[in-house]
Symmetry: C2
Subunit: 289 residues, 2 copies
């Protein structure tokens, strides 16, 4: 595990209520859902964006944990029987399989609240008004015109054929919104960046968010369940439109490569060429193929 | 409908995304879940507490809408088949019956995010640091050591007999946390109140929150489904411990009366004896019997 992942895992362990705090079973399920799994892509993006802004790592740590709480909540709810009905996540039984559906529902609800609690109770910006803006960015990314809305579009798309712009619209919301928020929040942990630099970072995040989904779709059809740690081939079997079903494997790979180059271009003018953000774009696109 | 209810209904109609914004079905379901029903007890408490502090009604309106978003989300999720599995709410089919389970799940998730978005994107306190504290109060009230935790305790209590302190613990979380937050947020919309006045208001809110639940339990066993607008007799049939099952009807009524008097005592020293807060305690305890 890398430096950021280790640090975030440890911080999450501290921020999540202990297993013996009432209601114990809920808190055990919360820890089960969040700890010990996942690539921590959103924390990596927040830290890398924060480094461009020379932000205090202690602030980035809190932001990274809030982002992981939101991400983990979305996975727990997405895996529920009324949604994707999946049984495997990060190589373990999903939360509702290990515990029960009602607990999984409350785990997701609690994690969303915890994310906003973290953003509000730690000092994350020199100016509290800027920190309120960070809360607004996260809330907007999570809501019906962000991640939750993307999930609704995804559900409505099952069994339909989408055009490429429609597919892009869905993913800009479903995964893109939180990835953009990750970069935006990391960058705002210091007041160092101006509007133009923040806009360049947002362009980068949009490209990386889409690339992430294109690669996810490629991996879903090309990898084994053991490699993924979640059920492979799920998209095709559940009749969901994906970049692979819309474009085919070859064009989906080309698109991922194009988005990677666009991401690099977006940050080329930033300090140190965007630092580790470039490597992260490469990692996201090049993982496993 | 009273002045506050009319104002909040109208503001909710503006703050909720319109029915024709993508994803349309989700936004229609959001409006279905929030608009046109409910006593708006939390907005009433926020406005009454805010009036003690001479707070700007425009701020109280935003806070009231955020509280109703959280309350409506909790009802939509609680009514799901994996939780209370209820089909009737405010005299209408519950959200998952009118739409579907996946949509109801996303409605709840979206409403929680919208509540925090409202608290972050409007100016609610003169000092942004104080407004961050308001976000923290709401997040904490919603989370695993607040409302969601109370729901988990409630689920674990089905079929068990609880002692009075255990029952109180459950309700302090399940309904009490958000009622305390309603008073706390309303009072903080102006900077006028000191620590002692805020503490008095919190004492009041604790009493009212418990009284509210005692009366709910009494109504559940004494009223018809038509009067309640939700399934009556649900507690007994689902084998849930209630104030009635633990204390009996007579002692539960005595307790509600005691809590009402305690609530009045808590605010006696405030400006105008707490203004409309006293009437609200009466309304909550005396409704329907």
């Amino acid at each position: 595990m890398g430096r950021v992942q280790t640090r975030v895992e440890s911080a999450l362990g501290r921020f999540l209520p202990a297993r013996d705090i009432i209601p114990e079973r809920l808190h055990q399920a919360l820890r089960y859902a969040v700890l010990g799994g996942g690539k921590r892509v959103r924390p990596l993006l927040a830290f890398a964006a924060g480094e461009v802004a020379a932000a205090d790592p202690a602030r980035l740590e809190v932001v990274a944990c809030a982002l992981e709480c939101i991400h983990a909540y979305s996975l727990v709810h997405d895996d529920l029987p009324c949604m994707d009905n999946d049984v495997l996540r990060h190589g373990k039984p999903t939360c509702h399989v290990e515990y029960d559906e009602a607990t999984a529902l409350l785990v997701g609800d609690s994690l969303q609240a915890l994310a906003f609690q973290l953003l509000a109770e730690h000092r994350l910006a020199d100016d509290p008004a800027k920190q309120l803006e960070m809360v607004r960015i996260l809330a907007s990314a999570c809501g019906s015109r962000g991640m939750a809305g993307g999930q609704a579009i995804d559900l409505a798309a099952v069994g339909k054929s989408l055009s490429l712009p429609e597919l892009e619209h869905m993913h800009m919301h479903k995964t893109g919104a939180l990835i953009r928020a990750s970069v935006a929040l990391g960058a705002r942990c210091s007041g160092a960046l101006g509007a133009q630099e923040l806009a360049s970072l947002d362009d980068y995040a949009k490209c990386v968010g889409l690339a992430f989904q294109v690669v996810d779709d490629l991996l879903d059809c090309e990898s084994s369940t053991a490699t993924l740690g979640k059920t492979a081939g799920k998209d095709a079997s559940s009749n969901k439109p994906t970049y692979v079903s819309v474009l085919g494997v070859t064009d989906a790979r080309t698109l991922a490569g194009d988005l990677r180059r666009q991401a690099h271009r977006a940050i080329a003018g930033l300090k140190d060429g965007g630092g580790r953000l470039g490597e992260l774009a490469d990692f996201i696109v090049l993982r496993n193929f």
